[in-house]
C-alpha cells in the first residue's frame, strides 16, 4: 500500500524544536551534536593520518588546524561532545523508564508524569557541563601556556 506522505512535516518537524518544551530541544541538540561529532571524527582520523607522511606533513597539518578558526571549531567540538555524552547518559536511564515516575490515575490539569524535573534537570546539567568544558577549553586553547 502506497503511503501518503503529503502532509508529513518532514525535516521541518525536526528543525523547529521550540514548540514543545525542553525534551524536544534536547532531542534536537542530541541529533545535531551527534552528526557534528561524526563529521569531526572522520575529519580527525584523516588529519591525524598526516603523521604517516613524516614531520613536514604533520607540521603542514598543524599550520592548517592550529589557527584561531581551528581552535573555535575545537571549542565547539568540546561543547558538543560534553553535551552529547551527558545527555546520552541521561537518555540511557530515561529510555528504560528510570527517573520517569510511575503510572497512576491522571487528574486535571493532566500534566505528564514523565516530563518531570528529575529527568529534565539532566538536560540543564548537560548544558551547564558543556558550557563549563567550553570555558575551560577556551582557557587552554586561547589562554596561552
Amino acid at each position: 500500500m502506497e503511503v501518503d506522505r503529503s502532509n508529513r512535516e518532514g525535516l521541518k518537524g525536526w528543525l523547529n524544536p521550540g514548540r514543545y518544551g525542553w525534551e524536544r530541544v534536547s532531542y534536537w541538540l542530541q541529533r545535531l551534536t551527534g552528526v557534528g561529532l561524526l563529521a569531526y571524527f572522520v575529519g580527525h582520523i584523516f588529519e591525524t593520518s598526516s603523521l604517516t607522511q613524516g614531520p613536514d606533513a604533520w607540521a603542514a597539518m598543524l599550520e592548517l588546524t592550529q589557527t584561531p578558526t581551528g581552535h573555535m571549531i575545537l571549542l565547539l567540538v568540546i561543547g558538543m561532545s560534553t553535551y552529547h555524552s551527558a545527555n546520552g547518559v541521561r537518555l540511557i536511564f530515561t529510555h528504560g523508564g528510570k527517573g520517569l515516575g510511575k503510572p497512576g490515575r491522571p487528574d486535571y490539569p493532566y500534566d505528564a508524569v514523565s516530563l518531570n524535573y528529575k529527568q529534565r534537570s539532566g538536560i540543564w546539567i548537560a548544558l551547564i557541563l558543556a558550557a563549563t568544558a567550553m570555558l575551560y577549553g577556551a582557557s587552554v586553547l586561547f589562554g596561552g601556556e
Binding site: I45, T52, Q66
Partner: protein, 117 residues
C-alpha cells in the same frame, strides 16, 4: 548474520558509555603537558610507541565508529522508507564504519613503526 534492532541498540548504548571513558583519557593526554607542546611531532610519535595508549586509540576508533555510524544509520532510516534506501543505508554505514576503522588502524600501525625526528 542479521542482528535484531534491540541487539543493535544495546550495542549502541554500550559503545556510547565505553567511549566516554576512553575519549576522556585521550583528551586528558593532551593536558599532561602544555597543549601546543603535546602536538609536537616527537611527543605525538612517543604516544604511538606506548602500547597501552595504542590499545586505547584503537578502542576509541572502534567504539566511536560503531556508535557514530549506527547513529547516522538511524537518522537516515527515519528520513526515507523504501527497501532500496534502507538496504543502501545499512550497507553504506557498515562499509563506512569498516573503512574508517581500517584507515585509522593503518595510521596507528605505521606511526607505531616510525622513529623520532
Amino acid at each position: 548474520m542479521m542482528l535484531r534492532e534491540s541487539q543493535i541498540m544495546k550495542i549502541h548504548y554500550v559503545t556510547g558509555i565505553a567511549a566516554i571513558f576512553v575519549v576522556a583519557v585521550h583528551i586528558m593526554m593532551r593536558l599532561i603537558m602544555p597543549f601546543g607542546m603535546s602536538l609536537e611531532y616527537d611527543n605525538v610519535i612517543a604516544n604511538y610507541h606506548n602500547i597501552p595508549y595504542v590499545v586505547l586509540l584503537e578502542s576509541i576508533l572502534v567504539l566511536i565508529a560503531i556508535h557514530g555510524f549506527n547513529g547516522l544509520r538511524v537518522i537516515l532510516l527515519e528520513l526515507r522508507q523504501s527497501k532500496s534506501w534502507e538496504d543502501g543505508v545499512t550497507i553504506l554505514t557498515i562499509a563506512a564504519m569498516m573503512a574508517v576503522v581500517a584507515y585509522g588502524t593503518r595510521t596507528i600501525i605505521i606511526a607505531n613503526g616510525l622513529g623520532f625526528e
